[in-house]
């Protein structure tokens, strides 16, 4: 029988990424650039919401977008056309999440001296983007009404890391048995500090509140 030597490692697979992310966050803070990591399931309305929000804030701060959700430039082009702000496409090669290193590579292709806010549209997935810190200043996710109010119970980690949960597509509330109060309660269970903002990216209802939250967050980030 062949004997083996055992070398103990005892290291989390996420450790290196967590360190990379922390370093990136510090660097962005020094540069005065706020990075918003926007996550959701596919089709919850990330791109539509971004267009609405950006058109409300682009005269006040300088915004740019990095698209990682899908492996074509459809969303990046849509955002550029609808808002006129710079928007680039990251090629994730079908990966299910972005890590800090990929985020940094994306930022290297952005005019960092000329922006206050970079929004990352992350890969549409509620599982692993929650485990991989991108180095973002804040995490936001979009939960759309058709997905149901019990999503925070099904994806606890995702909800626990988010500073804001945007509940989108409230224009279709009459057709679904989505309970907003229950939703707020479940989100609170995962993270008592998370803000819940109901919106309709279609009608524009509630988008002002999300836009003000974002402007305030960017302002605080740029202080000292």
């Amino acid at each position: 029988m062949n004997s083996v030597k055992i070398i103990e490692i005892k290291k989390s697979v996420f450790e290196d990424n967590n360190l990379d992310a922390e370093a990136l966050r510090k660097e962005l803070k020094l540069k005065g650039v706020f990075l918003l990591n926007l996550m959701s399931s596919p089709g919850s309305g990330k791109t539509t919401t971004l267009i609405q929000v950006i058109n409300r804030i682009k005269d006040k701060i300088r915004v740019a977008v990095m698209e990682a959700d899908i492996d074509s430039d459809v969303d990046a082009v849509k955002i550029k056309e609808a808002t006129g702000i710079p928007s680039i496409q990251l090629h994730t090669g079908g990966m299910c999440h972005l890590d800090a290193e990929m985020t940094r590579q994306g930022l290297d292709n952005m005019p960092m001296e000329d922006v206050d806010l970079v929004i990352l549209e992350n890969v549409g997935n509620l599982v692993c983007p929650a485990e991989f810190d991108t180095g973002s200043s804040c995490n936001a996710m979009i939960l759309s009404v058709p997905e149901g109010h019990d999503k925070p119970l099904k994806y606890p980690l995702m909800f626990s890391i988010c500073d804001v949960v945007v509940v989108n597509k409230i224009d279709v509330l009459p057709y679904f048995d989505f309970d907003m109060e229950k939703c707020r309660e479940y989100v609170r269970m995962r993270n008592p500090n998370t803000r819940v903002i109901p919106i309709s990216a279609k009608t524009g209802e509630g988008v002002d509140e999300f836009a003000s939250w974002l402007l305030e967050a960017v302002k605080n980030w740029k202080k000292h």
Binding site: V4, I6, I7, I9, C96, V127, C128, L153, M189
Partner: protein, 116 residues
């Protein structure tokens, strides 16, 4: 697929450890994986075989998985319980103010190196 991405992280960490320890061949990598981590053991095994065999260091190396139990804590009564069996409701007091203590680990425990 998620597991393939994770396998690439494992390979990167293992290569680094091998270099630090002057190891040229690895016969097995032992992982600690929590019951409620996002890893599906069957998927990660398939991804491992495919990716590991592309590396000289890891050709033929086995991936061994230790499953760690998930444990939740109840803020209301202060007791711990098995997460997978009872979910988010504390079996001691029925309260839902509970959170996961452990069970989402994805950790490289050790590597096994053949003795010459």
């Amino acid at each position: 697929m998620h597991e393939l991405g994770i396998v690439f992280y494992i390979i990167r960490d293992v290569k680094k450890a091998a270099q630090e320890n002057g190891v040229e061949r690895i016969s097995a990598v032992v992982m600690n994986i929590g019951e409620v981590s996002t890893i599906v053991p069957e998927y990660i095994m398939d991804c491992w075989r495919w990716a590991a065999d592309k590396e000289d260091l890891l050709r033929g190396a086995e991936l061994k998985i230790n499953t760690l139990p998930a444990v939740s804590y109840c803020e209301n009564c202060g007791m711990e319980y098995e997460t997978v069996r009872f979910g988010k409701t504390c079996p001691h007091c029925g309260c839902e103010k509970t959170y996961l203590l452990r069970g989402n680990e994805v950790e490289i425990k050790e590597i096994e190196v053949p003795n010459q």
